[in-house]
Amino acid sequence: MIGLGHFLVLGALLFCIGLYGALTKRNAVAVLMSIELMLNAVNINLVAFSRYLTPDYIAGQVFAVFTIIVAAAEVAVGLAIVIAIYRDRLSVELDDFDWLKW
């Protein structure tokens, strides 16, 4: 019998995979992709909680919609910044983005 715990473990797994990618990737676009995976994991948790704990008042699904909206805005602005930096530096390697170091 699949219950709330199964969905939460799936969310935790997906979050950890995304976290690993966000910490280890050299390419800025790959880091953005990993962050999308983490946001998806959070959405699974929100929807699972709303399904199993408050099935009549599905605020969790509303939160998930807002997360998706913010994620879409984030990826659009993030890729725009990556493209702007690429035009300037001809690189998307995060190790090259060190202008603020002295």
Partner: protein, 169 residues
Amino acid sequence: MSDAVFTVAFYVFSAVTVLAALGVVLKKNLVHSALLLILAFVGVAGIYVLLQADFIAAVQILVYAGAVAILVAFGVMLTKRGDIRESNLANRQKWPALFVVAGVFAVIYALLGQTNWGPLAAAGPEDSVGILATLMLTDFVVPFETAAILLTVAMLGAIVIAKEVKNSK
């Protein structure tokens, strides 16, 4: 849906999602990562269907598997230099990151095991779209309108940042 079908569907969608996500993180070719990302999003949409969140599943397919994945593919194509087969390598923090991630998962798993969630509902909402629409235009109307403004601002901001600035002075 019978229990057996539900269980099989859950494990199939979970396996698709987790394996595709692992591929996104571990593949060395950035284009393969971007395509596997779409597969992971579709798997998550299947999970939403199992959780009786039909509307979220549809939005997941439209926004993530459609828009975000295409945006990422554009990002890959507009910024690539050098050999595409070696475009998605890991940095030096591989082992420390693995250590941190294993720790995070262990903590979450341990806390999940000892948490008492209280009574769990047997069935989800019958008509999630209707409830969702009512909630969005009553209790959550301010965040709803703010989200509309946020999307407009983010779209304009993305255009301004990505557009080449000419030195016209």
